[in-house]
């Protein structure tokens, strides 16, 4: 019998960490960005699904750190550290940040590209190199990362699945 890999699903504005043989997935990324941080040697990976670039945009009293690029990436790194991963050995793969519609308020219209910029800025600040990315465009993406192979599978409606 074939070994079924267990998939951990990450919702919007959420994050989680897995170790091989499990894989980790988030579905229907539009303007949101999926950020994978992984340790190739330890075969551990974390996935974060951010909605907004900057936690200063938050107007609620309760801060959900996984919603924002500036707070979420750091929090995911801390989660990985708690699993024994050294920040030095972390690498990143990112996908998403599409512009699904061409109109909206001035705040929302460029939200996809702004999310990507914010993710890159934060990864740079934390000295985590980006190994691969599939960002921009105007299509939704579903992504799944396998820590055993460090491959990110990116599926879109029109272009099928590609591996990063």
């Amino acid at each position: 019998m074939a070994l079924l890999k267990e998939v951990v699903r990450v919702g919007i504005a959420d994050m989680n960490v897995v170790k091989e043989p499990m894989t980790i997935r988030t579905s229907g990324l539009g303007s949101c960005v999926g950020v994978v941080l992984y340790d190739e040697m330890k075969k551990i990976a974390g996935l974060l699904h951010i909605m907004l670039p900057d936690s200063n945009l938050g107007k609620s009293t309760q801060l959900n750190v996984a919603k924002f690029a500036d707070t979420g990436i750091y929090a995911l790194m801390e989660m990985l550290k708690a699993q024994g991963v050294r920040p030095m050995s972390l690498k990143a793969k990112i996908a998403g940040g599409a512009q699904m519609f061409q109109f909206g308020s001035s705040d929302t219209i460029r939200i996809g590209p702004r999310n990507v910029e914010a993710v890159k800025k934060e990864l740079k600040r934390l000295s985590i190199p980006i190994i691969a990315e599939d960002t921009g465009g105007s299509s939704g993406r579903t992504i799944e990362f396998d820590p055993a192979t460090a491959i990110l599978h990116v599926r879109t409606v029109n272009q099928g699945t590609k591996e990063l």
């Binding site: 919007i12 959420d14 579905s27 909605m51 609620s60 699904m100 109109f103 105007s138 939704g140 993406r141």
Partner: protein, 210 residues
């Protein structure tokens, strides 16, 4: 939901009535367009998480034809009309008289896209003009935009405004369906009205419940 406006059951009932009135008008328009009887299911008004919002629309991964527009004026918010691909195909085939039309195809004939956008125009227009008459508020919809893609990718765009304030959203959801032969459902769609948090007070004041 927001610090300044505790939402009570009475408020949710008011929002439900708004959904009822708007969607009833939209259903009438759709029925005239198709020359078929269209059933409308009493709206669900719920405070849900973003992930639950995607589930209402078929699941984040489901591929749909989604019409999206922004509402501006006295109140602001996002509105979606979401159809499964089967439903969208069925509808457009009947509307343009071309049985081969398929939203799943790699290149879409312009006439189908245009028909779908026109559908969005008519339905959202009748929905919102009923809402405007009922509340006395000035409501200006933007031109609807069509996207055939994953539910999560489409609907999350409408959650951006809300997400600044909250991790939950009030969804005014109306299911609209055409019963086909043998009880089969040929059109199964949803209207989602997502008022921006700052607009709740405006709505409630206009109806004298705040």
């Amino acid at each position: 939901m927001t610090s300044e406006s505790p939402i009570t059951d009475m408020h949710l009932d008011v929002l439900k009535e708004i959904g009822n009135i708007g969607a009833a008008h939209a259903a009438t328009s759709l029925s005239q367009l198709l020359d078929r009887k269209i059933d409308m299911h009493v709206p669900n008004v719920k405070l849900v998480s973003f992930d639950e919002m995607f589930d209402l629309a078929g699941g984040a991964d489901a591929i749909v034809a989604g019409i999206f527009l922004r509402i501006e004026g006295d109140l602001s918010g996002s509105m979606f009309f979401v159809l499964s691909l089967d439903s969208a195909n069925h509808f457009i085939r009947r509307l343009i008289g071309d049985e081969t039309f398929d939203f799943g195809a790699s290149s879409l004939p312009d006439i189908g896209i245009s028909a779908m956008q026109e559908l969005g125009n008519i339905l959202s227009g009748s929905y919102l003009s009923a809402l405007s008459d009922f509340t006395g508020l000035k409501i200006y919809p933007t031109v609807p935009s069509l996207s055939v893609d994953m539910v999560g990718a489409i609907v999350s765009f409408g959650l951006i405004e809300v997400s600044h304030y909250s991790d939950e959203v009030i969804v005014i959801d109306t299911q609209i369906r055409e019963e086909g032969e043998n009880g089969s459902t040929s059109i199964d769609g949803h209207f989602f009205l997502l008022p921006d948090p700052s607009s709740y007070i405006t709505i409630f004041k206009s109806l004298g419940v705040m």
